[in-house]
């Protein structure tokens, strides 16, 4: 009986001793953490997308509280959330212009030819390593949707012609698609940049036209129509967005293929001339006495 009492007493004393140590350690080793970090983090979208440039939402919340970032830098949050965080912390929201991801290619399967059939792992990255993906224009979008896979906001979808379309309302400019695309076709752009070169080909003239109906043929007409904003880099036009006010719609009206386009609310608008050419391309007028078309030989590509 006494053994039980002794054991119980020892345990009790030990317990009290350890509890006292823990209590002391709690006071001694306490790390103060700003309670606002948790509050701010709770309001953030918790997507950890990294678009703000910090390692996840908590790191961003800490940076905002330290004053190293503004709430507006979180492009994934809606305007209300940003406003509410700014109000809670009593800082300026620092909302910049909305940015979205844009694809420098419009060559879906309807307009851009594939000359080889790819077999193997169904991913752009894998296909691009085997033989460029099998599309005639090897600079363009392969269309297997690697970007759709990595989009955390459901803002990217392949359309019926296997071209990813950005949902500008949902896009938060996190940049995941930019890093994922093996052809480096995505870039993050302010939404006010309306004049857009939707082509990345380095082919010229006839070669480009053969590969894709909406390819830039490098004629330079757009650069002549909007000389302040558009210049030619090799065979591709480059829009200088510092002079965005000069980026006028005239440039798309002169384009014979629709490679340079106007983006309005996520819609791709091409000039009338280009539209006519494209209609003609889809419904070619019947030709007289045309020899039997040569069957293009295709070879297989597999991984």
């Amino acid at each position: 009986m006494s053994a039980l009492i002794i054991a119980g007493a020892v345990m009790l004393v030990l317990g009290l001793l350890l509890a006292a140590m823990l209590a002391a350690a709690n006071k001694k080793l306490y790390v103060y953490e700003d309670p606002r970090i948790d509050e701010v983090e709770a309001q953030l979208p918790a997507a950890n997308c990294g678009a703000c440039g910090f390692a996840g939402c908590r790191a961003f919340a800490e940076a905002v509280i330290r004053g190293e970032a503004t709430p507006g830098q979180c492009t994934a949050s809606s305007a209300e959330i940003v406003e509410s965080i700014a109000e809670y912390l009593g800082v300026d929201a620092g909302v910049g212009e909305k940015h979205v991801a844009r694809l420098a290619c419009a060559g879906g399967d309807d307009v851009a030819k594939r000359f080889a059939h790819y077999e193997g792992r169904y991913s752009c990255r894998a296909a691009s390593l085997v033989a460029g993906g099998g599309k005639h224009c090897t600079f363009g979008c392969i269309g297997y949707g690697d970007c759709v896979e990595v989009c955390p906001f459901d803002a990217l979808h392949l359309n019926e012609h296997l071209i990813p379309v950005v949902d500008e309302d949902k896009c938060t400019a996190c940049g995941n698609c930019v890093t994922e695309c093996p052809k480096n076709l995505f870039s993050i752009q302010p939404i006010s940049n309306k004049l857009w070169v939707a082509c990345a080909t380095r082919l010229r003239g006839r070669d480009a036209k053969q590969a894709c109906a909406v390819a830039c043929i490098g004629c330079g007409l757009c650069a002549k129509a909007a000389p302040e904003a558009v210049s030619m880099d090799g065979n591709l036009p480059v829009v200088d967005y510092d002079k965005n006010e000069f980026a006028v719609r005239d440039a798309i009206e002169v384009c014979p293929s629709g490679a340079i386009c106007w983006l309005e609310d996520g819609e791709r608008i091409i000039g009338e001339k280009a539209q006519k050419a494209l209609d003609k391309w889809f419904n070619p007028p019947p030709k007289k006495e045309k020899p039997a078309p040569e069957v293009a030989e295709t070879s297989e590509v597999s991984g």
Binding site: A116, E119, S123, L129, A131, G132, G134, T138, R202, S299
Partner: protein, 443 residues
């Protein structure tokens, strides 16, 4: 000699399919047009030194090397430069090429270059002469030969291994050049030995080519420190690290090169070209390739000008309607070509036109890994392809490189070959390496 030790551990033994071994090397008629890609080798792309409408002689340089790890390009035909523009390359990307149209009136027999006495050249002169020939590793890697001939000063090369293994199924070019041009190969070996101050050379040939073993043995001059070694046939014996292990029973350290243990490996076709080109001061303008597979009318070994389009080669050898796929290189390490408009490059050792029957996994159904470890038993560098494959599927590419030696993988394809679940392991590893390279470049 205990021949059974002359090999390396692991590896596989695919059916050798060397149908064209008895076909003597044949010259194809000159094509009417060639496209000389400026980047056919590992290293900086060459820079074009000709422009549109320039007349070029056969063998005249059309592009110069940029820096040390680069080689010049030479025109394989006499004609006129039509343009310097983008052309589809074997990787399926557009890259710069010089396009030359054959001039029917020009003299196609005369080849640019002045003969010289190679014996009088110093070591450095010899190495820059090798660079001027534009020679790269013709076995398939296309690594500039002169760079290999100049190992770091603190790692002298004593032994040269001459790679006549040709372990890839179907390919017979190295075998044919050994049988037909043994003397010139020996000249090439002696030149390289002089340039590298090597003490001995060993010609390594797999024992499924007894004829080549015999002929090379006889071609060696009296008293020369060159010997022939018969190796047990196995794939991938032709990879430098495997070859070093098979011939010298020594391992190249992880991440290292054969020069780290005083060894230099050269392919027989490369040495043949050096033996031919150096004394005459010419450039590399043609190579021997095997055209084989069930989809070809006239399979054989052909000597073809570089830059000839695959379409022209296929027209010449005849392509059967059942052909389904064209592969550049051997079936194990080769790459499928996406178009017939791709020009022949220095690194292509063969063109295989395969039919449905010959393609093992046409359906491409991938089953889950069953952990049978056949890939582990096949990997010649003792990696764990199964584990690497699982990590690749999860996108843990950096972990693969840092902890599981991904960068030692040279993509021989043994793991994919033995996998009963059809898992495209090598493709996963290529993706992983590409992603890591991209990340590295972004830093």
């Amino acid at each position: 000699m205990r021949t059974y030790t002359n090999s390396f551990p692991h590896g596989v033994h695919p059916p050798d399919c060397k149908y064209t071994a008895d076909q003597a090397i044949e010259d194809l008629p000159l094509p009417s047009e060639v496209s000389i890609l400026l980047s056919q080798h590992i290293g900086a792309p060459a820079k074009a030194i000709v422009k549109r409408r320039d007349e070029v002689m056969r063998g005249e340089p059309v592009a110069e090397a940029v820096g040390f790890v680069s080689v010049p390009m030479h025109s394989p035909i006499a004609g006129t430069v039509t343009k310097v523009d983008y052309v589809l390359n074997p990787q399926g990307l557009m890259s710069q090429a010089v396009q030359i149209k054959l001039d029917p009136d020009a003299d196609q027999e005369e080849i640019y270059g002045t003969p010289r006495d190679v014996a009088s050249l110093s070591q450095d002169e010899l190495i820059s002469a090798v660079q001027a020939t534009g020679t790269v590793g013709l076995g398939g890697a296309a690594f500039p030969t002169h760079v290999k001939m100049k190992p770091p000063a603190d790692k002298p090369v004593n032994t040269i291994i001459v790679n006549g293994c040709e372990c890839e199924p179907y390919l017979t070019t190295d075998f044919r050049v050994m049988v037909e041009d043994a003397e010139k190969i020996i000249t090439g070996i002696q030149l390289v030995m002089d340039a590298m101050k090597a003490k001995e050379a060993i010609i390594a040939i797999e024992n499924n080519k007894p004829e080549a073993l015999d002929i090379m043995e006889k071609a060696i001059p009296e008293g020369a420190p060159i010997s022939v070694r018969s190796l047990v046939t196995k794939y991938p014996q032709g990879a430098e690290k495997m070859l070093t292990r098979a011939v010298l029973h020594r391992d190249v350290p992880s991440g290292g090169l054969p020069s780290d243990i005083g060894v230099g490996c050269f392919n027989v076709a490369t040495l043949l070209q050096l033996g031919q080109l150096l004394p005459q001061g010419r450039g590399l303008i043609e190579r021997v390739i095997t055209v084989s597979g069930g989809g070809v009318e006239r399979p054989g070994n052909y000597r073809i000008p570089l830059g000839t389009s695959i379409r022209y080669i296929m027209e010449q050898v005849g392509i059967r309607p059942e052909a389904r796929k064209i592969i550049s290189g051997g079936p194990m390490m080769g790459m499928s070509l996406s178009s017939q408009d791709i020009p022949l490059t220095k690194g292509m050792s063969g063109l295989l036109v395969l039919t449905e029957e010959e393609m093992r996994d046409g359906c491409g159904t991938v089953y889950p890994c069953i952990k049978c470890a056949r890939c582990v038993d096949a990997c010649p560098i003792f990696l764990n392809p199964s584990l690497l494959g699982l990590l690749a599927r999860k996108g843990r590419y950096e972990e693969m490189a840092e902890e599981h030696h991904l960068n030692d993988c040279f993509e021989c394809g043994c793991c994919t070959y033995v996998c009963p679940s059809n898992i495209p392991l090598v493709q996963y590893f290529r993706i992983a390496k590409a992603m890591n390279r991209e990340k590295e470049a972004a830093k």
